[in-house]
Structures are given as C-alpha cells and as structure tokens.
C-alpha cells in the first residue's frame, strides 16, 4: 500500500517538474482565431529552429482569443474580427494585422463554368436575402449576357458555425445593400433569411457540390485547394477582378491603414481595378503596457519573423502576406505602442 503511494507521489512530482520546465521563459503563448492557425504553426516551426523559442498557440476561435487576452492568460490574442478603438482603449489593448485572406462565393450551376458568373454586391445580397430565387432572374442575366443561366431555383448555403469568414461576408453585404444592413446585419453568426448551413468551410463546400443550383461562400484558400466553382464580385471601381493573391494584395495595399484608428480596418470594397472586394486581415491583440518586457519583445520578434521569413509559408498555404509598406508601418507602431514601464520593448530595425 505505502509503496503504491510512494510511486504516485513520485509520478506527480515528476510531472510537475516537466511542466514547469516547459513553461520557462523560452515559450510564448497565444490563443484565438482558427483561420490563421495553420500559418502560425508553420511560422512557429521555423522560428523554433532559428531561435529555440516555442510558440504555444491554441486555435479556440476569435471570440475565445479576445476573452483569453482580456483574462491575461496568454501573451497575445488573435482575432479575425478587429476591435474598435473604443474597445481597445477600454482594456488597454493594441492590435495589428498579420496576414490577409479573402472570401469567395462558391457556386454550382449546371452549364456555368467557374470564374465566369458576375454578381454585383447588391445582387449577391438579394440572393442571400432570398429575394432572387431563380438563376435566370433578369437581375442576374443582365450582368451575364454570354452565359446560359438555367431556370433553376437558387439554394443558399451558409456557415452554420460562428466564423470570421461569415463576419467578413456579411459585413460586405451590409456595405453592398441597405436592406441587408437593416434586416440582417453583420456578425460572425447571423439569422439567415434563407438557405442551409454547413459546418466549417468543408461543410459549405460539400453542400454546394451536392446541390445543383447552389451558392455559398468559402475562404479563398479553400477555392485554391479544392477547385470548387466560384463567381466574381464587382469591385468598387466596377471591374471584375479574379480572386487571386494579387487581387487580395491590391485591396490591402489600397486600404488606408495610416488613417485607421487602432488599425480597425475592414479591407472591404477598397478602391482599385484589381482589388477583390471581400478581403480581410486577421489580427493580433496585445497589451500596450507589458509587465514582462522580454516576453513581449519575444512575441513581437516572432511576428517580425512571420512578416519576413514567413511570406514564403503564407504563399504556400494560400494566405496573402501584407504589402511591404503596411509591414513597415506596423513595425514602427510596435516600437511606439508596446511599452514596459515607459520603455519600448521592441526596436524597429529600419526606422
């Protein structure tokens, strides 16, 4: 009996030592958005190889990320949905973008090839409002003279889970249509006027594939990986850009980061003939006042590494890196904004 207890005590002590060793200063922790999680994991792999510092990132969702950083259980939070300046000030937080992604309408219409169907924002909103119910509705055919659109009912497919993708998409529809804005609104989950819900990008893509005459929305990376049919959305300049990395980059470059208080910026409907209208960045949240300057510096160095060496990974995994000028701007902000006892924790390499 006593032997058993001795063994148990030894085991507990051993576990305790191992855990404390793992949580030493050479680990940084973060939690939040699931969308950039694969990329952060890739960055962390490379960063650990070069510096020995390990990132512990939990992809628990944007809402959870905001909660965790407010509870100060992590060194940084991650969210697909930026906080407004007022929200940031309330908790003394600072936020910056890391990478860009976009949302693309996925379609499955017999006889209509991928990347040809043109939908202005207002028409897209009317489809998702359930006001346009047939593919050969004059509102759609007007923009698609060359396409043979069937007299087929439209099935709307949306996300069933709360998601940054839905937030971006509904925010865009709110810009494009007043009716959408007042009747439905923008959020990471909304009360959909019509349609069926699929879980995650896979669920939406599967339902679109299985339902003739359906339209849904998925992350750009998902279109690239699966080759699902997609539709074009009119840019602010009334052009029809293809959803490519270049189009998301154009939208991000055209965005006015310099005049966005607290970096609160939805990269939606940006000017530029090549700018994809439903583009959005994903954000990192950190406290402006840091108790542990070494750790805060370590976090910023990690994202500096992500900005620099990580571009390769971003392209590889179908994320879109930020334009160079935005990165420079963010590095400058880090030096100005994140402090410990009045001292900057990070020095910008090229001020």
């Amino acid at each position: 009996m006593f032997k058993f207890f001795k063994g148990a005590v030894a085991a507990v002590l051993l576990t305790a030592t191992l855990t404390s060793a793992a949580t030493a200063a050479d680990t940084i922790s973060g939690a939040g958005a699931t969308f950039p999680a694969p990329l952060y994991a890739k960055w962390a792999e490379g960063y650990k190889r070069t510096t020995g510092v390990q990132l512990n990132y939990q992809a628990i969702g944007s809402g959870g990320g905001i909660k965790q950083i407010q509870a100060k259980t992590v060194d940084f939070g991650a969210s697909d949905k930026p906080l407004t300046q007022a929200e940031l000030d309330k908790s003394g937080l600072y936020q910056f973008p890391t990478v860009v992604g976009g949302v693309v309408p996925a379609i499955n219409i017999p006889g209509v090839p991928s990347g040809k169907l043109k939908l202005p924002g207002a028409v897209l909103a009317d489809i998702f409002l359930g006001k346009i119910t047939l593919w050969n509705d004059p509102a759609i055919t007007k923009w698609n003279a060359g396409l043979n659109l069937p007299a087929m009912p439209i099935t709307v497919v949306h996300r069933s889970d709360g998601s940054g993708t839905t937030f971006l998409f509904t925010s865009y529809l709110s810009i494009a249509s007043n009716e959408w804005k007042s009747n439905v609104g923008a959020s990471d989950a909304v009360e959909w006027p019509t349609g069926v819900g699929g879980a995650k990008n896979d669920g939406v893509a599967a339902l679109v594939r299985q339902t003739a005459g359906s339209i849904g929305y998925v992350e750009y990376a998902y279109v690239q990986k699966t080759g699902i049919g997609y539709a074009l959305v009119a840019s602010k300049d009334a052009t029809w850009p293809q959803p490519t990395a270049a189009a998301f980059k154009a939208a991000t470059a055209g965005a006015d980061w310099a005049n966005a208080p607290g970096n609160y910026l939805l990269v939606l409907n940006q000017p530029g003939a090549n700018a994809w209208p439903i583009t959005g960045a994903t954000f990192i949240l950190m406290y402006k006042e840091q108790a542990n300057p070494t750790k805060a510096a370590e976090v910023l160095k990690f994202f500096d590494y992500g900005y620099k060496a990580g571009d390769f990974n971003a392209n590889d995994l179908f994320y879109v890196p930020l334009p160079a000028n935005v990165k420079t701007m963010m590095r400058k902000q880090w030096a100005q904004q994140i402090k410990s006892g009045g001292k900057a924790v990070y020095t910008s390499p090229n001020p």
């Binding site: 809402g63 609104g185 299985q210 339902t211």
Partner: protein, 328 residues
C-alpha cells in the same frame, strides 16, 4: 456450538485511508454532476432571465394577411440578440423520435434472430459485428452521412419524391417532401441517428432475451406455439418493461448525439415544416456556435445545454426506473 477464533482483527493504518479514497471516488461523480448543473444554470441565467418563458416557446409574427401554418417561424438572431429554443427543441425531439421509429423494429429483429434462430457458428461473429458498430465514433457516421449517404439519398429518393409531388404542389404530400434536394435534412439526420443507436439497442435487447429462463420458451413450444407466437406472446411480454427501458436509453443517446447530426441536419434555425426541411438540434446548435459566441449569445447556448440536460436526464431517469423494476 461455536468455534472460537484465535485471530484478532489486524489493524492496518492504510485501512481508513483506503476507505476514504474509495468514498472520495464515489462522491466525485456526484460533485461533478452537481457542479455541472450549477454551471449550466449560472451560465444560462442571463438568457433565461432576459427572455423568461419565451425562451422555450416563442414565435415570430406572421406577415399581415398570411395566417397559414407555413408562415410560423421562430427567432434565433445573434445580431439583435433575440433567441428562442423552440426550433432546436423541436428538431431534437423530431429527429430522436423518428430515429427510434426506424431503429426499434430492426433492433428487435436482430435480437430475435440472434437468440431464437441463429445457428451458433454465425451468432458469435454477428454479435461481435453489432458490438463493433456501436464503437464507431459519431463523427465518422457524420462524415459518411454527409459525403456518401446524403448525395445518394438526394439522388435516388428525394428528387423522385419531389418530382412526384410537383404534380399537385398544394397537397399535404407535396408539403411534407418540400425541401432542398441535397440530402441534408431532418429525415436523413434521423436515418443516420437510427443507424447509430441501432447496434446499441440490438445488443441490449439480445441480453434481455437471453435472460429469459429457457424453460419458459421450451414450455411455449411444448404447447405447440409457432416461433412467431413464442416471440410475440411469450418472449416480448416477458421482458416488456426492460425493453421500454432500452428504448429510453436509445432515445437518450439520440437526443444528445452531436457531431453526426451537425454534419447532416442542414443547420437552419427555422421552424421545421416538412420532413425534408433543414433544421437544427439543441446539441448541434451548441456545437456550431459556442466557439465564437459572446455575452447573451453564449448564455443562450448554455441555456440550450440546460434544456438538453433536463430532457436527457428525464428520459434516462425513466429508463433506469423501468429497467430496475424488471425481474430477471
């Protein structure tokens, strides 16, 4: 005459420790259960106090001039923070009830075959196969349902039914089969659920039938009853109460089933109006939305959890009571 023992009870200092450790193990579960209920009530309280009874039963107003059954709808709006559990409660009850309806006769059939007719060489592998089915994780059923079963169902059953119904679009038949022909709906969710609870129910039914003393069965055959008569008039009545208990346990599993249903039910918070309508259940709504929910939305989801807990708890309590009053 009694034998005097020379032994004195040996005192081991670890005895009381051992006793307290096992007492602790026994109470842990109760403490966990109590704190679970407490967490659900505390977490769901903001939503429950905000909406009151309306949280459980609340409908939207029909547009002016439309008073038919088909305009009935219930709110679930994270933007304006209006929530009602009506549609998920209904979706949960409909899918579970339908699943039971499909699974019950097949489960009884399997159990009767295994205990009455099956040659011993086949009985063992067949029983093992049934038990293996019960061990498949639910997400596997969900993925199979969405990627294999739903497309097949849409093509071979749903589309022909919809075409047949288009002859008379105002009939009740047409209204019952109305829906999007992609196989993600109440009906397919119920079928997948039925497949999931089937092995479990069949296995327990088999145990129940085996518990019947062989004399009872032999006596029935002895007076000249046919196998069908023996099954319906002797075997099933003998374990009736226990069978109801098994049905309730199956229902309990169907009510709480999450991932498979989430994949295939179509996830719409609308009030279900046809057999092929997309819908949602209490568990699927929580699984879908919890990660990104905040404030009142989160509280409403926890309150859904409380509702599910109460429903499942009631069903399981009835099941336990029926099973325990069964004589073996």
């Amino acid at each position: 005459m009694s034998v005097e023992t020379k032994f004195k009870p040996r005192f081991d200092p670890t005895d009381p420790i051992f006793r307290w450790v096992s007492f602790g193990a026994a109470t842990t579960l109760l403490v966990v259960l109590a704190s679970l209920i407490g967490t659900l009530i505390v977490g769901g309280w903001p939503a429950l106090s905000e909406y009151g009874f309306g949280f459980f039963l609340k409908f939207k107003e029909c547009p002016v001039g439309n008073n038919s059954w088909f305009c009935i709808d219930t709110p679930w709006n994270p933007v304006t923070d209006v929530y009602s559990a009506t549609a998920p409660i209904l979706g949960t009850i409909i899918t579970s009830a339908l699943a039971l309806l499909f699974a019950l006769p097949i489960a009884i059939g399997i159990a009767v075959f295994l205990t009455q007719f099956c040659p011993r060489q086949i009985a063992q592998p067949l029983s093992t196969a049934v038990e293996l089915l019960a061990g498949i994780p639910s997400i596997v059923y969900g993925m199979w349902g969405l990627f294999v079963f739903a497309p097949w169902f849409a093509k071979t059953i749903q589309t022909p039914l919809i075409i047949a119904a288009s002859q008379d679009p105002t009939s009740w038949f047409a209204k019952m089969v109305a829906g999007i022909p992609n196989g993600a709906n109440l009906f397919t969710a119920s079928l997948v659920l039925a497949i999931m609870i089937l092995p479990y129910m069949a296995a327990v039914f088999r145990e129940l039938f085996r518990s019947i003393p062989p004399q009872v069965r032999e006596a029935a055959f002895g007076v000249g009853a046919t196998p069908f008569e023996v099954t319906t008039s002797v075997i099933i009545p003998y374990v009736q109460k226990g069978m109801i208990g098994v049905v309730m346990l199956g229902l309990g599993r169907a009510l709480g089933e999450t991932m498979a249903v989430t994949f295939i039910i179509g996830n719409s918070h609308k009030f279900p109006k046809s057999l092929f309508d997309s819908s949602s259940t209490l568990a699927s709504t929580i699984a879908n939305e919890f990660a990104e929910a905040a404030d009142l939305h989160r509280s409403a989801l926890i309150a859904l959890g409380l509702v599910l807990f109460l429903i499942t708890f009631t069903v399981l309590a009835i099941a336990r009571w029926l099973l325990s009053s069964q004589r073996y």
